[in-house]
Subunit: 359 residues, 2 copies
């Protein structure tokens, strides 16, 4: 098949050069005679891959020394339960900000472990904005303040880091990690599934400040106890070795692109073009408050929903895949993560203009 | 590098043909224009891969219809906690048989959730045998009876399925699943990490009888609630898609070899040859009761431990890798899973004979 562009919300597009390198060394990693798939995590070669992964992520995000990096399994959804299990620290409540489907799920799961104070919610707007920070209600006795930096389904992204007023700030960054420069020292804990901006599904990155370690509840499985895994460099049991390797390749690619700052400019430009095309049309529209539009996931609806199927089918004939919106919001969604080339966004815009002209 | 043989206990050797197929279709899966790495788990292609995976495993193990198959994350070690969290069913105790390092870990983690009755233990023998079944102490009020079918570190394998006297039988089969024909209907639950006999690290297979579903404790993260994942075909959140695909390729290879029955004969023959070589030597010895010697993991010690390093170094020059025994038992260990070809075992035996002759 000729060139296609994959707008999937995750698992999602890889840099082509990463796929080529993975293919080239699949049977023999750097002259070792072994596939990374077959390497013992405690053998001659894999520890080098693991150390490089950690040091590259530390460098790319400028992670301070008093933070531990964990590479776990189970997805960000598992963290919805594992975060309260690990960092309640004897406290009985936690604050959550609701800005879409994912932060909503985080609230539901946390309620099994503590009292959840919903500090702010944009549910009444249909999750099309972020509530004004001055209206947030924080409890200074709470264990932490949780929010979702980018809502993959609703296409809502925070434009700046909120003020947690002394509470440890906890962020689900699954769908925009490494897409813009952030100050890690403002956070108590950052977590992200890797299947959007970092590589394949199957790894969950947790970046946690050291003072939050050591409080896991007794019912936390040891392989999900942050302190235990920090001590073991995330190798308390066999890690998802090949997935780590692939994340490592994506990080190397990211460094070669100029790192996160370069990626931020690139992402801002791609998203601006797509939103401009939407705003200039009469067929397409995006419901999100302009200040909080996601640069990663761009949902849009067609003025005539009867055209949805035709739009999707026609797009596929042009090599534009996975544009269907999430079933809970309908319409379309174009996910344009780091690895989506500018040519993909241009091809989508060209198609949208042509489709509008002919329908 | 020329041909090597990898005796790692896991992650471990892949069938060469599987690596070649993965390499060949890494950038374009069956003309889709997409890498499996980039596929949405809810897109056009991946559901086919997932369905094939489940139906192949059902066929290979002859899994009855009243069992659900789950493909989770976290490794078998996570299940040490998740099994009691899911299937205690309001009961306060569970029975465990201790035959080595892995069943010992399972006991320790279960103790956070219930009273553990150690029904039998071979600890006093240094874990070199399986306690006579007639001596096992079972509690008929217990929720289940847990055992480890093959102890990867100590090289101890059950030769038959124990009689659980009405208790649901729960088995960690991480290191010998698919290596011999078993009657799944004798079990309540079977679990296994995939990184030994099934493919890459990063997937945990759980095969669970339906009547044990629906009892998860409130502190079980939903993505580890067996009932919830059974309803969602293990897609309650994004699964480790590429790992599923690779496990699927290994299962297809297994079918092409003649399935599990053919593999059992092949494994028995490989192990018999290696144990014979050990028993016929004066330099090498294996401490395990002959009736319970593992066909998968063959530990052996050298009469002179000062030769250990020389043995390992010399072996590597002959392309024989990862023969170091686990640090807790010392000596050597050759893991000879399904994918280890007969030529690999022969090369090891030839080397061992030559090494003994010259040292």
């Amino acid at each position: 098949m000729s060139e296609i562009y994959n707008f999937s919300a995750g698992p999602s597009v890889f840099p082509k050069s990463v796929l080529l390198q993975a293919q080239q060394e699949l049977l023999d990693w750097q002259g070792s005679g072994q596939s990374v798939l077959e390497m013992s995590h405690r053998g001659n070669y894999f520890p080098t891959i693991a150390e490089q992964l950690e040091s590259d992520l530390r460098a790319l995000m400028a992670i301070p020394d008093n933070y531990k990096l964990l590479f776990l399994q189970g997805g960000a959804s598992a963290q919805f339960s594992l975060i309260p299990q690990n960092i309640l620290r004897g406290k009985s409540s936690a604050c959550y900000v609701k800005t879409g489907a994912w932060s909503e799920k985080a609230v539901i799961d946390a309620q099994n472990f503590c009292d959840v104070l919903v500090s702010a919610s944009s549910e009444n707007s249909g999750y099309t904005t972020v509530p004004e920070e001055s209206t947030w209600v924080l409890d200074e006795q709470a264990a932490y303040l949780h929010y979702t930096t980018n809502e993959t389904i609703h296409g809502v992204e925070f434009s700046k880091i909120p003020n947690a007023k002394g509470l440890p700030l906890v962020a689900d960054m699954s769908s925009n990690i490494l897409s813009r420069v952030i100050d890690v020292s403002r956070y108590g804990l950052i977590y992200a599934g890797t299947q959007k901006n970092m590589g394949p599904a199957g790894v969950t990155v947790v970046i946690v400040r050291e003072d939050l370690l050591g409080y896991a509840s007794k019912t936390t499985p040891p392989v999900f106890d942050y302190q235990e895994q920090a001590k073991s460099h995330s190798m308390l049991n066999t890690p998802a070795t090949y997935n780590w390797y692939l994340v490592g390749l994506v990080l190397k690619w990211l460094k070669a692109q100029g790192g996160v700052a370069a990626m931020e400019q690139f992402n801002n430009a791609k998203a601006a073009k797509l939103y401009q095309a939407i705003d200039q049309s009469t067929l397409y529209s995006n419901p999100v408050d302009v200040s909080y539009r996601s640069r990663m996931n761009v949902p849009f609806i067609l003025a005539d929903a009867n055209l949805d199927q035709v739009f999707l089918k026609s797009a596929e004939t042009q090599g534009l895949f996975e544009l269907r919106g999430h079933r809970s919001v309908g319409g379309m969604r174009a996910s344009i993560y780091n690895a989506m080339p500018e040519a993909g966004v241009k091809a989508l815009i060209d198609f949208m203009i042509e489709f509008e002209r002919t329908h």
